[in-house]
Amino acid sequence: MSDIEGLLRQIQSELDLDRETEQKVLAEIRTHLEETVIEAMSAGMSLEEALAQAAACFGVAPEVGQALQAAHAGWATADAVVAAGLPVLLALVLRWLVFAPDGTAIGWQQVLVGPAFWAVALAALLVPLLKFERWRYALVSWGFFWVVTVIFVLGPALRW
């Protein structure tokens, strides 16, 4: 179905998304076009006629590509901000729970048996399970910022 591939290429040329999102968007459009062609052929059209009708009903491919790009713009940024910000926030809360302002951790053993510490720790572990649109990217960001945060926020306080 070469015309379908042509339409998909025109749409793809308008997209500037991450690979995973782009593939999902194109897969959805491909399914739509294939179903349109199959329905037209089952109504008695030849393959060429069905492809032509599918293309005509679909609309102007670059216009659809631009609209798809606009619909997806900004998702990645929001994911990245959340993925990067949550570990920092949670690490600061953990630091506040465990360490005194001067960086000492006298009595930290008592903190470990309190529910607040474990609630925050559990929330930190569950962050990757949140549904991000670009979850792989978010997960990598989450891991990276956890390491950076531990080094720069918790690290200096580990003098005890």
Partner: protein, 117 residues
């Protein structure tokens, strides 16, 4: 310049998609949604089919719809959409606004022209 029909369609796509999904009571994929909307409107609303997908994705982004992929890898997979709680709330709001708009417009259009004095 958009015709009245095009303007009406553009402004009501979110409403009619939400209503369709709620009425059907089951997740639907884009192709199904388009066909049912055309059927419901007796062909009056003929969409440029490709443009339904940006709208569905936008609605998903706004939290009005949720989606999932059905089908095994290697087969034809379909992305189906269902209405969220936020989508149900939006539907109620938009239906109320639409009823008010329709009633007002009907009153305005049905009013007999004032006789020239």
């Amino acid at each position: 310049m958009l015709s009245v029909r095009q303007q009406m369609r553009k402004g009501t796509t979110t409403l009619v998609v939400l209503k369709l999904l709620v009425d059907r009571g089951e997740p639907m994929y884009g192709y199904q949604i388009i066909r049912h909307l055309e059927e419901r409107s007796d062909g009056y609303f003929q969409f440029k089919e490709g443009l339904i997908y940006p709208r569905l994705h936008q609605m998903e982004r706004e939290g009005l719809l949720r989606s999932e992929w059905l089908g095994e890898p290697g087969t034809r997979r379909r992305k189906v959409y269902a209405v969220t709680e936020a989508g149900l709330r939006r539907l109620e709001e938009e239906l109320a606004q639409w009823r008010t708009f329709r009633a007002t417009l009907n009153r305005m259009l049905d009013t007999a022209p004032e006789s020239a004095s």
